[in-house]
């Protein structure tokens, strides 16, 4: 799968060669390209319109989060986690807090776990909505963007009321929650769910049976289940290729085990299946939230966690199902208040690796669609 990296320099200056009779053309897309979802540079090797292969150049948004992690105490590192996948900040926070709780051998109280599930699933819906809006915009449908962002606004309002921030929410703490849920939290979440159900049908009405949408997405960016597993691709992309695997079911965390929901899978693993999988996932998240809100127990929201955390020497790998895939934290503790090694396994970074395989043989216009369907966030890819 290795493409030779000796890319022939773009030799258009020499006059005797027009850009049409050159057998292989190298084109640079990005890093400031409207459709690359952030700062990603893709070097495309083209034969006319067909993509021979591509190479991603990343690192433009690298902030060295893992190095900083080694110089912050466990609680101080919490806000950094939200800045990685800034679209799904809450699930980053959940992953990190649960990893450290496992290290400290502490369990968050049931009420905290329920609120965490509610907020994380809301975050999954918000992330999928943002994905749908921008993905449809890349393929040319302008309207879904406004619908999805109008509905996403409601979720951000709930976050703002709960923890003061809309995007990088820093809602969870190691051991539980910082804030008790505000008065009327359950009612507001319930109203939102009833508000959202017909809206998801609206998105489906606009796109699912839209002939041009189907034609632009069916059979584009196909990837088989074996390639997905070999490349380590996870999340909706893996499920769309037919692998029925979701960490919330496979290795339940934060009492997902006592909510029932299905895992959608696709058959062909193309862009259209990924679209369908994510739409069903949004509906399943609504189901989970409904059950979580109904069964919200009373009780404390914070476990017995020492103010100064000095976890015993040892290491832990804990991963959760973020909207983009498996988000893992590998924390090595040396007994001090600061982690010795803070490794983050981002889903977008590994999923982006599959872009080359998915775009082989497609046309240039489809590269945009495939980047959109991978749902990558460069903050998470570059850390």
């Amino acid at each position: 799968m290795a493409d030779q990296n000796t890319l022939s320099p773009l030799d258009l200056e020499t006059h005797d060669k027009t850009f049409l009779d050159a057998n292989e053309l190298v084109i640079n897309m990005g890093p400031q390209h409207p459709a690359t979802h952030g700062v990603l540079r893709v070097i495309l090797r083209l034969d006319g319109e067909k993509v021979l292969g591509l190479e991603c150049v990343i690192g433009y948004l690298h902030r060295g989060v893992e190095k900083i992690g080694e110089h912050r105490t466990y609680t101080m590192f919490n806000p950094y986690v939200d800045r990685m996948d800034y679209v799904a900040a809450v699930s980053n926070g959940l992953g990190y807090c649960e990893a450290v709780e496992k290290l400290l051998n502490v369990e968050a109280p049931p009420r905290a776990q329920h609120v965490r599930v509610i907020l994380t699933e809301l975050n999954r819906i918000a992330s999928h909505q943002l994905w749908l809006g921008t993905h449809a915009l890349d393929i040319g449908a302008i309207t879904p963007l406004f619908y999805t962002f109008r509905d996403r606004e409601e979720i951000l309002k709930i976050y703002e009321k709960y923890c003061g921030a809309r995007l990088t929410t820093h809602a969870f703490r190691i051991g539980g929650l910082q804030y008790e849920t505000y008065a009327g939290f359950e009612k507001e979440v319930k109203n939102f769910l009833n508000f959202l159900k017909p809206k998801i049908d609206e998105y489906e009405e606009l796109l699912t049976t839209n002939r041009i949408w189907v034609e632009r997405t069916k059979g584009i960016g196909k990837i088989s289940a074996e390639d997905c597993i070999a490349l380590g691709v996870t999340g909706p992309v893996l499920r769309a290729s037919g692998v029925k695997w979701d960490l919330r079911k496979a290795q339940p965390y934060a009492n997902y085990k006592n909510f029932d929901f299905e895992i959608p899978t696709g058959q062909h693993g193309d862009t259209y299946d990924r679209y369908l999988v994510r739409m069903v996932e949004m509906r399943q998240s609504v189901r989970i939230i409904e059950q979580a809100v109904d069964a919200l127990p009373e009780g404390p929201i914070m476990a017995k966690v020492p103010k100064v955390m000095k976890p015993p020497v040892g290491e832990v790998y804990h991963s959760i199902e973020a909207p983009k895939g498996e988000l893992g934290y590998f924390i090595v503790s040396d007994g001090s208040t600061q982690p010795y090694r803070m490794r983050v396994r981002p889903p977008s970074f590994v999923n982006l690796q599959a872009l080359d395989l998915m775009c082989r043989g497609q046309l240039v216009a489809d590269v945009i669609a495939v980047i959109g369907t991978l749902d990558i966030v460069l903050g998470e890819v570059d850390r």
């Binding site: 406004f146 109008r150 034609e215 216009a365």
Partner: protein, 422 residues
Amino acid sequence: MNALIQYIESYLTSDKTPGAAGNMFWAFVYIMLVFTGLSVAVIAMNWLERKILAHMQVRLGPMRVGPHGLLQPIADALKLLLKEDIMPAEADSLVFWAAPFIVVLAAFSVFVVVPFGPQHAITDMNIGILFMLGVSSLSVLGIVMAGWASNSHYPLIGALRSSAQMVSYEVAMGLAVVSAILMTSLNASGTGTLSMIGIVEAQKAQGEWFVFKFFPLGLIAFFIFAVAMVAETNRAPFDLAEAESELTAGFHTEYSGFRWSLFFLAEYSAMIAVSSIAVTLWLGGWLRPFPNWLSGPAWSAIFSYVPGVTFLFFAAICFYNTARMPKHPYFRIQTLGLGAFGAVLGLIGLILFIPAVSFRIQDIFWFSAKVAGFMYLYIWYRGTFPRYRFDQLMKMGWKVLLPMGLGVLILTAGVALLQIKS
């Protein structure tokens, strides 16, 4: 001097178009009327497109410049006039300068033969539809020149793509038009006509619009033309030329200021031109709905009031909105403006009620109402459809529309032959 006046009045009684009647003065007046009307229509289209698209997308559209953004198009036009008009360094200045004019020429000269009424057309060429198709194919030249003269790869690729698209959809368009013209020959003399007014007369004589003639065939031909015309003007699902999300920018990226506004003007007038062809050929140009079925004097009276009623309806909307305008002093000027606009519309509505005026204006009203329907369709397409990929677009042009066009043509000819035989 009175010879001149007499020359002018002589035309008023004749029922032929000024061009056909050889009356140069009225021809000039009609030209002025049509082109001012066209630019007003383009300005209105600019505002309508922004507002309707916005309301489709759960937002308000321009609200700040004038009441409900009514002055926005004027602001745009002014901005474009004042903007610096740059020309790329090694651009081919002659071709770069000429391209927008050719495109505008092609888009405007189509209106010479557009029949707003039995005698409301600048002229009545007997090759009307052929002339329209010929001239609209000239705009491809302008686009190719614009793309090439910008002297950079992406406009060139954009120009080649959009001209390839226009050329291939012209073929499908031609076939659809031929099958409509074939229907005009089902009269006693057995010879159809290419002249636009002749086509509408034929529809009136045969008592039904061509879109309903030989039931599915007319509709299919109309459908082919409707799709091809959207592709011809690089609009909505076929606007691949200026697809910003891909590499290639449109052919008019290097243009700015006034030259760019020429392209913008040409695009809208081409849209209006092509939809007026569709209205003439299939939707019975200026004929009011059910001319033969509901043909009594009472019915024609009722139908003659419709233009006045619509304008009064618009005026009512304006007044209703002035009531809804917030009471803040800052909005006082806007409420006044909207009220004045409503008053003007109301006045026009009232004038349209005068029988003499409404009799003459009625045709133009029905024609432009149908064209406005098409304009709404254009905006609706842009709101809902994603963009076709270039190869899908060409595949649909050659492998779907062309065979369908041929099929419809052959079937129409067959059915027409049967009808003549019987």
